[in-house]
Symmetry: D2
Subunit: 397 residues, 4 copies
């Protein structure tokens, strides 16, 4: 297929040329001075990405799933109880993974498309008066399967209102560097992300931001662990080294990514994501059908929109036509949404014309799949959002 493809997944996201070039380089000695300087340069920028001045950043070779595991095994002992919420595939998978690791998981079932109700958090924690209270509450900041954002400030307030001292563990995989993550303000104990979303890198890194309390717990407690043990990593990082060979190529890319984000400015990054997401949503609303899965506009995700297909349209057909006819790659429906939903990723390195191309491509695709749709109607709605200039109301705080 001629020209550039449009990879509109909710991650991995498109690699900017600057980042590709930063990684396209000879191997260096990961115990030498050049590399040590690189390591040290990364940590402040990552802390900023997590909205933290005090957190300790830990980088692993791995995926988001590895990040989950690292966030758990350093602070939970076998058998510890965890409260989780299932309103999408990643919440469900996390609960399953935590059980496999030997923790006891209480999974609150929610509608897929619903956000996490703060009052439910408060009620659950308020009622948690047994001998073995919850050791942690796990929150997916952005449910990548449904395009629903959690209101972490409200959840933190609910935890405080319940007077419960459970740890707050935050999955920021598909929110970090796209929507504000405020680990200090929200008193997040452990937050985690991956490289292949807002950080604009290939997959292959998991990154944690660990608060003081979690750090102290991990010092003596936690589960049996070796690869994911953050203690030796933090110790060696102090002089720029790692206890095992890190994924050096991605770290060079990460330096460039952090430089790009700093040049754009965090507020501008968040405003851009909100503007682009608002354009996508305006287009979908202009069509009338298909519709946005996320139930509450206050919880719209600025990194991904899950689109419920009208009856008669199959996810597989839509994604295949988009890919084969237009070079447009859309995300698939996950878990119980399989077959009924396509997901439009709008995060990472992205601009207005790319979003307009995506919207135009989805229109053509839906029409080719048989939907009676006015070509250009969604594009025009999206253009009207973009014509307003930089500031679009309703951005997440």
């Amino acid at each position: 297929m001629s020209g550039r493809p449009f990879l509109q997944l909710p991650g991995p996201t498109n690699l900017p040329d600057r980042i590709l070039r930063a990684m396209d380089r000879p191997i260096v000695d990961h115990r030498g001075p050049e590399f040590a300087a690189l390591t040290k340069s990364l940590l402040p920028g990552l802390r900023a990405a997590f909205g933290s001045r005090e957190g300790t950043v830990v980088i692993y070779p791995g995926s988001g799933t590895g990040g989950w595991e690292a966030a758990l095994v350093n602070v939970l002992a076998p058998g510890d109880r965890v409260l989780t919420f299932s309103h999408g595939q990643f919440g469900v998978a996390f609960a399953q993974g935590a059980r496999k690791l030997g923790y006891e998981v209480d999974e609150v079932p929610l509608r897929w498309g619903q956000s996490i109700p703060a009052e439910e958090v408060e009620a659950r924690l308020g009622a948690d008066r047994g001998a073995r209270p919850y050791r942690a509450v796990f929150v997916v900041h952005n449910e990548t399967s449904t395009g629903v954002r959690a209101d972490v400030a409200a959840i933190r307030a609910a935890m405080d209102a319940a007077g419960h001292d459970a740890l707050l563990i935050l999955d920021a995989v598909s929110s970090l560097a796209s929507m504000p993550v405020r680990c200090d303000e929200w008193r997040v104990d452990v937050a985690l992300t991956g490289s292949q979303k807002g950080l604009m890198l290939p997959p292959g890194l998991a990154v944690l931001c660990v608060g003081q309390r979690a750090l102290a717990i991990g010092q003596e407690g936690g589960s049996p662990r070796n690869f994911f043990d953050w203690r030796p990593i933090i110790r060696e990082n102090a002089v720029g080294l790692f206890p095992y060979t890190p994924a050096t190529m991605l770290l060079f890319g990460l330096r460039e990514a952090l430089a790009m984000l700093a040049e754009e400015g965090w507020d501008a990054v968040f405003a851009r994501h909100h503007r682009l997401a608002s354009g996508v949503r305006a287009a979908i609303q202009a069509w009338g059908e298909p519709r946005i899965l996320c139930e509450d506009p206050a919880c719209y995700s600025d990194s991904v929109t899950s689109v419920v297909l009208p009856d008669g349209l199959e996810e597989d057909d839509v994604r295949r036509v988009a890919r084969e006819r237009f070079g447009l790659v859309l995300g698939n429906g996950l878990g119980q949404l399989k077959g009924r939903v396509v997901r439009i990723g709008h995060l990472g390195a992205l601009n207005e014309l790319e979003v307009l191309a995506t919207v135009a491509g989805v229109e053509l695709t839906l029409r080719e799949c048989g939907l009676d749709l006015d070509l250009g109607r969604g594009v025009a709605a999206c253009q009207r959002v973009f014509a307003q200039g930089a500031a679009v109301a309703g951005a997440p705080k």
Copy 2:
């Protein structure tokens, strides 16, 4: 600016990743066996690009201007007469260059936006009965400044009808690999192109296709020349070498470009360019204003459309807003069109969604520059062209 820019110049065009990777490699010995094999592999594909089985291909480090010079100095003696047509900047610049090289140039003035009238060719040649007849007729296949295509078959027929034996020299810089070039069928004596248009490479190469008659003339005749003398190049190329160090990196890219074009297939390449160009033109016509400069729809260029701005819009403003606000790079007005025209390139590695993004970006730009334009109207017109599928009527033969 986040995301990928849209470089919609009529050349240089976007570099496909495959070509970038093909050039991103260590230097090889340009007198060694690996390189000789490379050289030999390029010539058949280039002949196919020129629509020739019998022509001899010659590659120079250089630009299109270098290609002009090579096309002249090998076949014309100082003082020889040349017939040219001025219906755009490149026709004018060619005439000026040919005069500087010491040839006598008869320049037929035409409206910028008009194509070359075959009857004018026939009339001029029919009347050319003096002692020093025209030695060559020079035709710009695609006037990149105006977006007007010449009907070379008709011009060849006119030359034949006039019974004139002038050489036919064809500038195929911005047509080759975008619209059919048929050197054998049209009996073109020398055709030339550059690397940075339909061949999808960076600028830096000029390529000629030389017919038997021109080859014979160049053997003994021509002007004083050294760098552009094609004789030693053709001689050394027979064993895969060059008489001087060639631009090796671009040649590796050229091999990949020819492979990509062969994979897509020449007919598909031309059909794609016609479809994309038709989409752009449908958008402009849907706006009503601005309008397409090219006067005759039969002569629309499939590689570039020159757009006449309505009164009150300045080219510089439009191009600046497009670039700064939307990362969209448009071509400027050249020569007498300066200030009044922007040019939309739609050639090389390009697909439908990229064109839709371009059209949507031009709409937003014109609106931001003050034009009262229905957002989405042009995009919808363009989408309707693309929704018809591969075949769009009226493609150049």
Copy 3:
């Protein structure tokens, strides 16, 4: 520093240009058909690298340490007993890691420089008649800290002679694709490697080859695990997918690496490593001092040589002078060897002239650090090895 550096670490190794280019590419959909085909293409080549027709290959984002963990948690239950050998840093670190994961480790202390005595294996296993016998024997095929190779065939024979059914777990991190690894022949139950050694990739992948018995144990047994659980990976790999986002960029590089190894041929790869290593050893022996750490020539490693510095020379000085004066990066002394040893890596993408440059650079460095050394003596010895042509006696089987 001008020119190319000489990175002579025992890993990460130099990235060939072909592999760099294979990774320097846009992101693809890791759930799409192009990627699924990639995944499926990798597994046969990896099996061949492990010397296995029947093994199941599992790829993780991670490091060698991650590979260790994967090799343990899938087959050992908490509290299981493991027999290990400490004749270098990686044996020691493995034992420590296994303890941290909750296994009971019996660590046989050996001299650093000694190989693993098969008779010791037989004796230990023969005496292991308790209620909780060893569940696994862990062998480092190539002790990267000392440059000592283990005779795995002899160890397997010793295990058989003892009539013990412990699992044989093999760390092939710095041997795979440099020296023969024969998982089927040696009946290795789990072997593991990393990407950044003989596979010529950047760090970031751990790869396992799992035999039938281990696979069966892992089906129901093992320790609590999630990220390193190979069951969902094997299940998804059957259709070319992964249960979580894999390190896609490295996988594209891996495909190229396997193609390069197949083009060279496995026997030629091993012969080349042996020839290059023999050259390095001949140089060191010609100097007289410093000397090779490995005690037994039959156990010389073909991927790394640890060199014991004479009294008066400090490792830090030697490595600094080599790096700053000559752009030559040597490996450091690890563990109890710190300060007394430098390591010369000679594995991965490497040829004779690069080794000669390395030897010449070490000579200059040692001389500059004060050692009275005849310049050129080691180089000449190394050249004499290379002048013999391809076959050098004594290659590992």
Copy 4:
């Protein structure tokens, strides 16, 4: 072949990774502000490379041969007389090219291996009292075919002593950025170079440095010309543009190359080339045979050494064995030296270990071709030069 090849041609030279990365980038608008800034940034660094504060730099897409042509057609009228010296292939080829362009060339025959005798220059010019005196003296600074450097200061003094006002045209193709070029001090009227030597770029650019007198002559005089006419280029360069599409990719590489040279420092660059060349020469002298072609040690080239093979050794065999057995690419014998000479390039991005590898590889090659040579003897001599540290006596001024 595994590992990195050693491309020891006297150009093209090895591309540093930094330069590869600088060129591996998307196309930009060559009429836009980013590109204009690039153009303007290049000219001061190039002037410095030519040793000129007052010269005007002109960049062409092309090769060194194109540079010759540009240097002539802008200042010489058809039929003008030029004095040249033939002591190698490039002097001969220049004379031939100048004749083809219509100039009258007086070619002083010299031995190949001899330098240009200043007294001969003075005698020729002193005797030049006719009606049509020489308009130009052409000097090859570094005869790439023989490895002989000209003493340009002495030649300038000879021209002055003769009281002749011929222009001094200097071919600095294989000297620039390797040995001092001092256009202002030597009052060079036009100097020229290519991109693929000391500038460490791929081939594809010719660069001129034009003095005030030449500039004035070119304003009204010169030969018919268009592509090579420097007037429009200089005019457009004033605002960062070019009259035709420049070879943009190489210009991005050129910016990086100039930055690298500035970081190293011109004196350090020249000292490094002299040190490396001295090492190569010491090796050859230690062998006894083969011998250095250049007759006068005061005229040794620091960028290339031509090596006369002893009887019984064929150039083709030597180069083939070096390439096929050791991945070492040596330059071929040119013109009358064909078959009898190999050339070792030691310019551009290069360091001591790479030179030692080259010397070791030549030893192995010569031995394999049947020469009775003590392996290591040349390497040791080369090492002794390098062990002396940075300053090696006898560097060109």
